[in-house]
């Protein structure tokens, strides 16, 4: 299972101008490339979630710069780039009441397919992998994700 899990880096951000730029500059200065990202925010704070090519390097350089950094396992799932592609995958996942906590898409495509990051609960991760695999949906191995 572990090779199917992609490491996501998340950063806690107060709503203060310049914080997001600082994160990106820190990563850039340390040769880390962001492959996918999204921000979840409230009026007080936000959480920046990223898939990067060098997760360990990202975590250590951000921590050294004083950011609060978390690591989470997510699934990078290949989605047919056609109408209904994502809906079909979600239907496969949704059979026994799987809760998608959040999802976001990669900038790049893989062999003409879109790649979407899913976060489901730890307990349900394995069953989601099984369901998707059984349904013929490809989950990208972590190494392939970092190399995108």
């Amino acid at each position: 299972m572990t090779d199917r899990l992609t490491k996501q880096v998340s950063v806690f951000l107060e709503n203060k101008s310049g914080r997001l730029a600082e994160v990106c500059q820190t990563l850039g200065a340390n040769g880390v490339n962001i492959r996918a990202l999204c921000i979840a925010d409230t009026s007080d704070f936000g959480i920046l979630r990223m898939i990067v090519d060098l997760p360990e390097a990202a975590v250590s350089c951000l921590r050294d710069s004083g950011f609060s950094v978390g690591e989470t396992h997510v699934l990078a799932v290949q989605i047919p780039d056609v109408p209904g592609g994502l809906g079909g995958v979600l239907k496969l996942m949704g059979e026994p009441e799987v809760n998608v906590e959040y999802m976001y898409a990669f900038f790049t495509t893989v062999e003409g397919n879109a790649v979407v990051v899913f976060r489901v609960s730890e307990e349900q991760t394995q069953s989601v992998i099984d369901m998707l695999t059984a349904g013929g949906v490809r989950i990208l191995p972590a190494a392939e994700v970092y190399a995108l």
């Binding site: 409230t42 007080d44 004083g66």
Partner: protein
């Protein structure tokens, strides 16, 4: 009206004799009934019979808020529980409140004092007293209520909140005296304006306004908007509650009813008395209380004293408006809040760190307290929902301890100033308090 001319206008020499006698009796009772004082007096070699003049007051030990905490809840009470008819409570410096007890005669004394206060505000049995201080463990509501009934006023026990209903009752019943905090007086004034109710529609002539520090600016606003004469009232639950001192029509300081509570002003650093007119820490000695007669209780309120006869005829010394605190206590919407209480709450929450900052703002007429808390790094999960749960958990825990709603804001670890003393913890952005 002067409620009790005999005692309020008593010759100062004569009152001093009364005070000494009452002080001596109190010390004698405490030596017998309260272990804390018994050992203190023994330590200092104090015997009740040695107290012969008011100068002997200075030989007595101070009582601090910590002494109340260390003897929580009943340790300093000087009467058995069957004599206690009421308890009130105010904020302690940590999770436990400061509890005060009253015997039946303490309730009588208190009613006399608040009746005097209502008299200072020009009240008489003809008045309709609209009490918008909170009723409950807070001393404000019931304190004024009993004084109003004692005087023979018609008392409206409104308590705080539900502003529209307050306004309706005020207009329909023809309330003549309003008793509430300065911020609530302004809230009522705003609501009146919104509903097209002006001073002419109200029968209010006088206000008994206190429980929060306020300025002359606030006084003018309250007076103009509600068409009344606002009088400052002071009280502290450890000493009794509202009615420890009160402004008369001369509005030149608050008369301290010193036949019940002897006031002193001391230098907060040295504990030495300071001369009239000089600011320092306000200290009270209760000389008529049965249940909780505190000796030289340090209020941490900063004020000054003026002795001499007032133009109103009262001979009680007058204390100046409270100018501040010697500690970091905040008063938020009439509720005393100690930063240490917040710290105590945060220590009990595993996700939070005891690094916090308090920011007080005034939004409209309302005090808003924002509590910024650093997040424990391990809390940084990847969902916003989880963080919001933590915010709610902290807010709820603070509400449970302090009884006020606060805005909790999570901030990044190590971003708040590490406290070097208390100063950096609190940012009070309110103006004109």
């Amino acid at each position: 009206m002067i409620w009790d001319p005999y005692l309020e206008c008593m010759d100062v020499e004569q009152r001093a004799q009364l005070q000494v006698r009452r002080l001596r009796d109190t010390v004698a009772r405490l030596a017998v009934n309260v272990p804390h004082y018994r050992s203190k007096f023994k330590e200092l070699g104090i015997n009740a019979e040695d107290i012969r003049s008011l100068d002997d007051l200075r030989r007595l030990p101070f009582t601090e808020k910590d002494d109340l905490r260390d003897n929580y809840p009943y340790g300093l009470f000087a009467v058995p529980m069957e004599e206690i008819v009421r308890l009130h409570a105010s904020s302690g410096t940590t999770g436990k409140p400061t509890v005060v007890g009253y015997s039946a005669s303490d309730i009588e004394t208190w009613a006399e004092c608040t009746a005097r206060a209502i008299g200072c505000a020009g009240g008489s049995p003809h008045d309709i007293l609209h009490v918008s201080y909170g009723y409950g463990l807070f001393t404000g509501g019931l304190g004024l209520h009993y004084g109003g009934e004692r005087m023979g006023c018609t008392v409206l026990p409104m308590s705080a909140g539900n502003t529209e209903r307050q306004l309706m009752m005020m207009v329909d019943m023809g309330s003549t005296i309003l008793a509430c905090t300065p911020s609530y007086a302004l809230t009522l004034a705003d609501a009146a304006k919104d509903h097209g109710v002006g001073p002419d529609d109200l029968k209010l002539k006088s206000g008994i306004v206190g429980a929060e520090p306020w300025s002359e600016g606030s006084r003018n606003a309250v007076e103009q908007l509600l068409g009344l004469s606002a009088h400052d009232i002071y009280g502290i639950s450890e000493v009794m509650g509202p009615g420890v001192s009160m402004e008369c029509d001369a509005k030149n300081g608050l008369h301290v009813f010193d036949d019940h509570f002897i006031p002193e002003i001391v230098n907060p650093e040295t504990g030495e008395p300071v001369p009239d007119g000089e600011y320092g820490e306000l200290v009270f000695t209760c000389i008529t209380k049965r249940c909780l007669p505190l000796i030289r209780y340090r209020t941490r309120d900063v004020s000054c004293l003026q002795h001499g006869v007032c133009s109103c005829g009262r001979t009680h010394p007058r204390m100046g408006r409270i100018r501040g605190r010697t500690d970091d206590m905040l008063i938020i919407r009439g509720v005393n809040v100690f930063p240490s209480q917040i710290e105590h709450v945060l220590l009990g929450i595993e996700e939070a760190q005891p690094h916090y900052q308090l920011i007080v703002r005034r939004e409209g007429r309302l005090d808003v307290l924002e509590v910024q808390v650093e997040v424990a790094p391990e809390l940084l999960t990847d969902t916003v929902r989880r963080l919001q749960e933590v915010e709610n958990k902290i807010a709820h825990a603070i509400y449970t301890t302090l009884g006020i709603s606060v805005d909790v804001k999570l901030v990044e670890p190590k971003t708040l100033a590490r406290s070097e003393g208390k100063a950096k913890r609190v940012l009070d952005l309110r103006e004109g308090v």
